[in-house]
Every structure is written in structure tokens, then in C-alpha cells.
């Protein structure tokens, strides 16, 4: 993977130096803080009512009432924020002309693609760290199911990897960052909602649409169920769009 490390380090540095990272992280952590507060507040209200009404106690479940909706909301925030985050990956280099430097250095397209992809996933992990204090806080006052928490984190990480790979691919097609963000948001939204047609289409096409739906595979993971089919879906999704990016980069060799 010639050039992977060089590109990875360069990208980490550029991301950290860019205001986009700080703004998106601030919005992400801020919104997640609000969602966390809202679900905890609701849960404590329900707990008070349960104190008056003993047979409600059996219904109370911290993991189901707080942890699962928290990560479900996170997926929605990611849908809006990650396209803003991946839009610059290639579009910025094309616009500023630094792509000429990248393409004339002895870096293989594979190293370039993976370096950029890995750095974007790493930066998302840093954003994700901002939510850890909320979960720790929850653990200090209640007793959530830690297995489910781990499975939820794995789920959003897989989801983010998929979002980032698609965003990176779209960014490699254009030199306009706004276009990159808009197209990746639209495409992600389409993958989000494609499962809806399952109710109207019978047979194989409906099943395919359901399997392609990007959010359906998160449900089990948020329940704490790590199914290899779901993990495989996200891994394949990421691999497919990384491969598409690679082909786009190589296409300049034969396209004139």
C-alpha cells in the first residue's frame, strides 16, 4: 500500500486544521447531548410514575428507553453531518489543484483511497468519543446493559464507515464540495428509505430492496444482536464504494 501512511497522516492533519471538523463535531456532540437529556428526562418521569403505580415497574428498562433511542437518533444526525464531512476529501484537492501534486507523487491509487478513507473513519471515531461521557454518566446513575452499549457503538461505527465510503466516492467525482455534499446526502437518504417499497413489492425485488436498506441492518445491532449478515452488509457497502473511488481515480489514465 504505497503512500498509505503518508496520505493518512496528511489527511489527519488537514482535517484537524480545518474548521469543518470543529463545527461538525460541536454540532454532533451538542445535538447528542440534547437527545441524551431528552431521553433521560423522559425516563425519570416514567420512573416517578412507576413509583406510584407498582405494576409499571416491570416495563421499565434503561437500555431500551435511553440507550437504544440515543443511538437511533445518532444515526439520523450522522445522515445529515457526515456528507458535510466527506465532501472535501477529493473535491477540495481537485478545486485547489493539489490533486496534481498527489497524482504525480509515487503514491498508488489504492494507498491514496485507503489513506483518505481510514483518516475519515478515524476522525469520526474522535467525534464519537464526545458521546462517551454521556454513556459513562448513564452508567454512574443507572445500570445499562454494557453488551448492548458495545453493540450500539459497533453499529454506528459500521454505519459511519458505510456513509463515509459513499461520501468519499461522490467527492471523487466532482470538484465542487457543495455538489459532493448534496449528492451524497441524497444518495444516503435513498439508501435509508429504499426499504419502504417492501410493503408494495412482493417477492425477490421487495426482499432485495429491504436488504439494501441501510438502516434496517442497524436495528438488530441496536438491540444488542450482532448478526454476521448485518456486519457483512456494512463491510460490503464500504468495500464497494472504496472500490468505486479507486476506479474513478484510475480512470484519469484512460479517460482523456
Amino acid at each position: 500500500m504505497k503512500g498509505f501512511l503518508a496520505v493518512y497522516k496528511k489527511e489527519m492533519y488537514s482535517s484537524m486544521a480545518s474548521p469543518i471538523f470543529y463545527v461538525t463535531t460541536f454540532i454532533f456532540v451538542g445535538l447528542m447531548g440534547y437527545f441524551f437529556y431528552a431521553s433521560v428526562a423522559y425516563y425519570s418521569l416514567v420512573s416517578y410514575q412507576a413509583a406510584q403505580n407498582p405494576y409499571m415497574v416491570s416495563e421499565l428498562n434503561l437500555t431500551a428507553a435511553v440507550v437504544r433511542p440515543f443511538f437511533g437518533d445518532m444515526a439520523i444526525v450522522m445522515l445529515f453531518l457526515l456528507p458535510l464531512f466527506t465532501m472535501r476529501l477529493f473535491a477540495e484537492e481537485k478545486k485547489s489543484g493539489t490533486v496534481e501534486l498527489l497524482f504525480t507523487l509515487p503514491i498508488r491509487s489504492g494507498g491514496l483511497t485507503l489513506g483518505k478513507y481510514a483518516s475519515a473513519v478515524s476522525v469520526f471515531c474522535i467525534m464519537l468519543l464526545g458521546t462517551v461521557p454521556m454513556i459513562v454518566l448513564l452508567g454512574s446513575f443507572g445500570n445499562p446493559d454494557w453488551g448492548v452499549v458495545v453493540s450500539c457503538y459497533l453499529g454506528v461505527l459500521l454505519l459511519a464507515s458505510a456513509f463515509i465510503s459513499l461520501g468519499m466516492f461522490v467527492s471523487s467525482l466532482t470538484e465542487n464540495q457543495i455538489v459532493a455534499a448534496a449528492v451524497s446526502f441524497g444518495t444516503l437518504l435513498f439508501f435509508w428509505l429504499i426499504g419502504w417499497v417492501k410493503s408494495y413489492i412482493q417477492g425477490v425485488p421487495g426482499d432485495v430492496a429491504e436488504y439494501l436498506a441501510i438502516l434496517g441492518h442497524l436495528d438488530d445491532l441496536l438491540k444488542g444482536l450482532i448478526d454476521s449478515r448485518d456486519v457483512l452488509y456494512y463491510v460490503l457497502f464500504s468495500l464497494f464504494f472504496c472500490f468505486c473511488t479507486l476506479r474513478t481515480l484510475d480512470s484519469r489514465r484512460w479517460r482523456s
Binding site: A17, S96, G97, T98
Partner: protein
Amino acid sequence: MIHVEHLTKDYGGIEAIRDVDFDVEKGEIVGFLGPNGAGKTTTMKILTGFMPPTSGKAVIDGFNVLEQSIETRQRIGYLAESVPLYGVMTVERFLGFVAEAKGVESKERSREVGRVCEACGLEGVRKRIISHLSKGYRQRVGLAQALISNPPLLILDEPTIGLDPTQIVEIRNLILGLRESHTVLLSSHILPEVSQVCERVIIINKGRIVATDSPRSLQSGRKGGDLIRLEVRGPQSEIARVLTEVPGITNVAQDRGPGEFEVRVEPGKDVRPVIAQQVVNNGWELLEIHRVALSLEDVFVQLVTEEEEGEQS
């Protein structure tokens, strides 16, 4: 070092270069000369593997730029016309990235960065952020980046553009210092610069090579013979009459000012001693006599007009 054969590049109907052939030997410093839009940058972009040619082939050090892209890129230091740099990085970090990308061992990276910084006069700005640097310094960072890992071939697209005269001299000396150990292909539309640095010039116009020669022989091979300027004190019309009678002189012009003459001579003849003799014999005072050196501008204009005349006829 560079072998280019029938290189053609077509930008959707607009031919940037057509059927370009040339060779550059190891250790040569070759200038690529032409007006804006002549195809200099296009040729260089093809050589560095940034874009593919429509047809034809380019070989660098035995490697085809299209099929063995990584091998050729390892042998080239390239300064692109737009000087692409990462503005958010410091000079040091940027050069460190280029060194890592070029495969310089991690132990030697800081030494290599130090070496190119010294060569390009960047020691004072190593910790500065590139986007805060002036155009001249950015140009030097671009050049430093090309020199990293000491590649045998340097392709420099307009290396001295945007620099002040002192910096131009520095860069010129830097390029001259690379002579013999490196092969250099540089482009320019500033002709004196090319004639001072390059052993050979390739003149390109409208995508085609018009001439390939050394700056010196391009200058001597002028059409219509040499031009001699002299300043003589004495009876003007008499002087002009005598000069016209000197064998070898084809034309005498007197339009430059009082006492100044411009004489055109048949090619290959040096009539300066004869003129001096005549002036002295007649008792006039010879103040100045010199042969006008043909600048590359003149050569260029001549070649380009010849080309156009050739096309019309």
C-alpha cells in the same frame, strides 16, 4: 532520459499538442520555450503522468509513463505551473509529507527536508504556515518539494514566475548547480532566462515543435545576415555613401539618431575591420561599433513567422 514520440493531446476537439517528438539526454538542461497556450504545460503534464496522451508515447529512463506510472513518478521531481501546495501545513510538515510519499526512510526524512530547505533558502520560514507565505516563497517551497529524494529528472513548469530579480538569480544558480547530476526540463516564456540556463532549447508553438537547438546557434543562424551598429562623428551623408560602397554591406539605415548608423551585412561576413579602416582613412571619428546580438525574442518571432508563412504558401 526523456524520449517522446508522436505525442498528441486532444482536449475534446482542441488540439493542445500534435505529433511532438524530442529526446533529452542524461545530464542535459533543456528549455521548453513557447508563447502562452503553445502546449508546454500539456507536454509536461503528460510526462509526469498526470494526464494521458491521446496518442503517441513518452518514455522516461526506460519506463513508459502510461504503463509504469509509479516507476516514472519515482524518478521525477515536478513543479507544476500552479504550484500546488497544502496551505494549512507548515513548510516543514509539507516537505515531510512529500518525503514520506516519495518513500524517503523515516530516519533520513528530517535531514532530507533540511537539505532542500537550505538549497532553496527556506530555513527562515520552516515553521511558517504555507498559506501565509509570499508568492516567491511558495514558489521556492514548490521547488524544494520537487528536489526531495533527489530525483534524477526535474520537470519545472515556469520555475521563476512570480519571483523578484534576486530570487530569479538564486533559482537560476540553483538549477545550474544541478547540472550534470540531474536532467532538467524547464519551461518558460522569458527568453533571456532560458538562454542563460539551458544548453538546448525546444521551441514549441501551437502544439508543434518549431526548432530544437542551442541558444547560441539559434542566435547565429539569423536570416538576412548580421546587424552592425556604429556611431561616427563627421559629415553624415558622406559617411552613409562610403558605407554603402563597402563590399558585403547590403543596407545602411540612419534612422536611429544623429551620427548613428545601422548596417546590414551579408550572412557570414564580418566587415567591422573594413568599416573602421574607412572611417579612419577619411579622417572621421569612430565613437562606437558593435555587432547587434540577436535576442531569443527575435529568433522566436522569426521562427514563428516563418512557420506561418510556410503554412500560408
